[in-house]
Symmetry: C2
């Protein structure tokens, strides 16, 4: 049910966060819940994973993560700015040490010349600020979701100083 690479990353995240007493939240658009699913494949993950949001619509991004409507209008849902705002919103809402957010175009439809299928931004926020990664996947819908979820777990590990 879950890609081995995701489970390996989730195991590492579990070990590091429990050892360092860090709590984590997720905010997912294109991955639809896959990051949370991977995290919770590890028994005992409730010790550090508080929960998350699947904000598939713009309304949900505004209502559940407090992403400003102006930011969505100016940059679009698939943008570095919105990835960052989603991560900051999830962290604030769930009061965690760190939060990760994913927004992208999994495909096969939804792409444009400016924002092609596979374009994905991952944002990670903690008390010290935020990082955003930009990716351009070239797989099918499922492969792009898996690649995005792996990137989310990797950026989380990087941000907390324990790169995978």
């Amino acid at each position: 049910m879950t890609d081995d690479r995701l489970v390996t990353l989730a195991e590492r995240l579990y070990r590091v966060c429990v050892a360092r007493n860090l709590t984590v939240a997720t905010a997912e658009s294109c991955t639809g819940g896959l990051v949370g699913h991977a995290i919770t494949e590890i028994a005992g993950s409730s010790a550090y994973y508080v929960g998350g949001f699947v904000t598939y619509s713009d309304d949900a991004k505004r209502g559940e993560l407090d992403v400003p409507a102006e930011l969505l209008a100016a940059h679009g849902a698939v943008s570095a700015q919105v990835a960052r705002a989603m991560a900051e919103g999830a962290r604030r809402r769930l009061e965690t040490a760190v939060a990760v957010a994913v927004t992208g175009i999994a495909g096969p439809s939804g792409g444009s010349p400016d924002k092609p299928v596979g374009l994905t931004y991952v944002g990670v926020a903690d008390a010290g600020g935020a990082d955003v990664g930009r990716y351009l996947w070239t797989g099918d819908r499922t492969a792009n979701k898996v690649a995005s979820a792996a990137a989310a777990l990797e950026l989380l590990l990087e941000r907390i100083g324990e790169p995978a």
Copy 2:
């Protein structure tokens, strides 16, 4: 990455909801995002799937889904009452036609004589009320999550009158 049975159910849900113009939200505890992941494996699912919540902690169930603290204290997070309240909360928060919620003990730890590993409740709420299903899975953590996600999609289809 995703069980064939889940994708088949998600395809059916996609077809029915788009045809009937129904919107859907999810609220997941033990499945950790797997229901949302399965739903969003179908291209075009954003036409009916607004989003969801992964409320892994009791705090998240209270804060994000408005599950009353008294309900959690009286019945526990894994209960028919909380499954129903989670579904109603997700539906209200995301203003959808219908919402599904899953709460259970995926294992291997967390069980008790009263509430053994594998015990899972699925709640589905719409404007007409709510249904709750009770299940007792006997697989490992991953198998129990998959079985719970399948039950969630099946109960959704049942509630909207299109049983799988």
